[in-house]
């Protein structure tokens, strides 16, 4: 601690030495750097990089925890495309993503714009919209399981005030997936709103003011100034939403277990059951690889859409 107090004196007397020591200094910096980086590199290598490579290799095998296994080439993949459960899961997951992502992005952006208007009680609103996000999905699913309860749940109770007939929600094949989508949208708004709000505060005020002077309407300002400025953030929100919706599991596991029938079966649930209930690890890995490819396609299309949008 005493060194800190003596600093000015030392600084002048040591100036020459420091310059001379530059070589050793950098070397010690490099050594410290790699030492500090090593734990994170080791951890990510073992628990992320190896698994990513392993999933590709496993997908070409019939491994199932046993002592013997063999390479099966693309056998798992051809089998998957005849597997009705897998095809249903893929379809439901894609549908879930296609509905949940645009709706939740649009609502979040609208709410963020609203909250950005020098609103009173912004703290209250921010908290209200963010609380579902900090709540565990299992807890959220449990609450909504009770809301959707056909007998005495809130959903039917509320709608009956307006004279609607009771619905069976999660038990009805026609409404089950839609009911899950509502919860998915509801829970995912918070993060997006916070990100949009921060981005909106960074939109150049000069640009908006000069647009004003030019007599631009509100819509023109939004379309030509605000929206392009949000570009990179939109892309970030889009990617995280794609990855997030494809991961949907907790919600489905607690609320429907994929039912009724397989109306709400989704990819991760199918992977989980193939891997840990049927112990078909190779098969489940192939399924994972397909999920990776679909996510990549979604991100690619998202990127194209965004480019097309900013170019016009």
């Amino acid at each position: 601690m005493s060194t800190t107090l003596e600093r000015p004196a030392l600084a002048t007397s040591r100036k020459g030495e420091v310059a001379k020591d530059k070589g050793t200094l950098t070397r010690s910096q490099v050594r410290t750097g790699w030492t500090l980086l090593a734990p994170a590199l080791l951890h990510s290598g073992i628990f992320i990089v190896i698994p990513v490579i392993a999933v590709l290799a496993l997908s070409l095998t019939d491994y199932s925890f046993g002592d013997t296994w063999s390479w099966v080439g693309f056998g798992n993949y051809t089998e998957l495309f005849r597997d009705v459960d897998f095809l249903a899961s893929l379809w439901h997951t894609v549908l879930y993503a296609l509905v949940v992502i645009p709706i939740s992005m649009a609502i979040s952006l609208a709410v963020a714009i609203g909250l950005n208007q020098k609103i009173r009680g912004i703290g209250f609103f921010r908290t209200a919209f963010y609380i579902p996000t900090v709540t565990a999905t299992v807890a959220v699913a449990t609450i909504w399981l009770w809301i959707y309860n056909p007998g005495s749940g809130l959903a039917n109770g509320f709608l009956s005030l307006f004279g609607f007939a009771p619905n069976r929600w999660l038990a009805d094949p026609g409404t089950a997936l839609g009911s899950l989508m509502v919860v998915g949208i509801w829970q995912g708004l918070g993060t997006k709103i916070i990100i949009y709000l921060a981005a909106l505060q960074g939109v150049s005020r000069d640009l908006l003011e000069s647009a004003d002077i030019d007599g631009a309407s509100r819509w023109q300002k939004f379309r030509n100034v605000t929206l392009p400025a949000l570009g990179p953030v939109q892309f970030f929100v889009l990617i995280t939403s794609i990855v997030g919706t494809f991961q949907v599991f907790d919600l489905v596991y607690v609320m429907t277990r994929g039912g009724p029938g397989s109306e709400t079966r989704v990819l991760v649930l199918d992977i989980y059951q193939n891997a840990f209930q049927d112990l078909k690890l190779g098969y489940a890995s192939a399924e994972t690889v397909i999920m990776m490819i679909v996510i990549a396609v979604f991100i690619g299309v998202g990127r194209l859409l965004q480019r097309a949008d900013t170019n016009d």
């Binding site: 500090l36 734990p39 609380i131 908006l208 300002k221």
Partner: protein
């Protein structure tokens, strides 16, 4: 600050505080939105106070506040143990993350490493790998950690880290997301500080530990808050690797409790859910600024 407030700058409309219909509509819409967000929680709490008879029909308010539901819920399932387990996992994972990710973040931000740029890219790419992708091989790796759970040196013969605190804590801690976040905060510190300390003869590790890290305390709190939330809310991983009730965390306990529709007791389930939810809501209310800054930082700079 954007479109609708701007007319106030233009001299023509000099009454920014005047009540305009647009403004009222905005408040109405926002309040309805906020109610839609909060009502499910409100209903959870109201249900938690009701009796088994009351919930047979839809109603808003409980006839009387049955506080005993909470204690009875705690007895109907080992919720206290689940609580303890979740707290252990959250603390362990947070400590592990803080150590591993701040050191790595500092090295990436402040030390002249050859290939440092590449390393940063490496962590950013990993940040995009969803956990669900590596589910199956991760399970196998954790199962074959050498010399644990009856495994030999080659990682065979036993269960490795399955059904252990190690397995619950280590694999999911230290996510690349947090390394990146720590790096973002270190990068904004001026290099002169480290330089001055070097002149004082402080070693490189000392500079990291005694000079730079204390300066990013807010960032450390942000990382801790996010990690606690992630650990507390985790479900799929504990579901996969725990086999005994002894180690199950709260969310898993809650899911098991809710999976018995034949004899599901909604007031107890809602009481348990309320208790499970409360710590994170309290954490959020107190650390709101940290949550928001963290999200904004990653979203905008990332």
């Amino acid at each position: 600050m954007t479109s609708a407030t701007l007319p106030a700058v233009v001299p023509a409309s000099t009454k920014p505080s005047a009540v305009r219909p647009g403004r009222i509509l905005l408040y109405v819409v926002l309040i309805i939105g906020a109610l839609l967000m909060v009502t499910p929680f409100l209903w959870m709490v109201l249900t938690a106070f009701k009796s088994e008879l009351e919930i047979l029909k839809f109603s808003w308010l409980p006839g009387e506040l049955r506080w005993s539901n909470f204690t009875e819920a705690m007895q109907s399932a080992p919720f206290l143990r689940y609580f303890r387990n979740s707290a252990l996992i959250a603390i362990g994972e947070t400590a592990f993350t803080l150590v591993v990710c701040t050191t790595a973040g500092y090295a990436l931000a402040k030390l002249p490493l050859k290939g440092g740029k590449f390393m940063l890219g490496y962590f950013i790419v990993l940040l995009l790998v969803p956990f669900q992708i590596i589910l199956v091989p991760l399970f196998m790796i954790v199962k074959s950690i050498p010399l644990f759970g009856g495994n030999n040196i080659l990682g065979q013969g036993g269960i490795g880290w399955l059904n252990s605190w190690w397995g619950l804590i280590i694999p999911l801690g230290a996510a690349p997301f947090f390394t990146f976040l720590a790096r973002q905060f270190f990068v904004s510190l001026p290099d002169e500080l480290a330089q001055a300390a070097r002149v004082d003869g402080l070693g490189e590790f000392g500079i990291f530990w005694r000079i730079m890290t204390p300066l990013i305390k807010p960032a450390l709190i942000t990382i801790a808050v996010f990690q606690i939330e992630a650990a507390w809310n985790g479900f799929l991983w504990p579901l996969m690797i725990t086999t005994s009730d002894e180690m199950r965390p709260l969310q898993l306990g809650l899911a098991i409790f809710s999976q018995n529709p034949a004899e599901i007791q909604w007031p107890y389930l809602m009481a348990g859910t309320a208790l499970a939810t409360l710590p994170m809501i309290v954490l959020f209310v107190f650390a709101q600024k940290r949550f928001i800054e963290g999200m904004a930082n990653v979203g905008i700079k990332g």
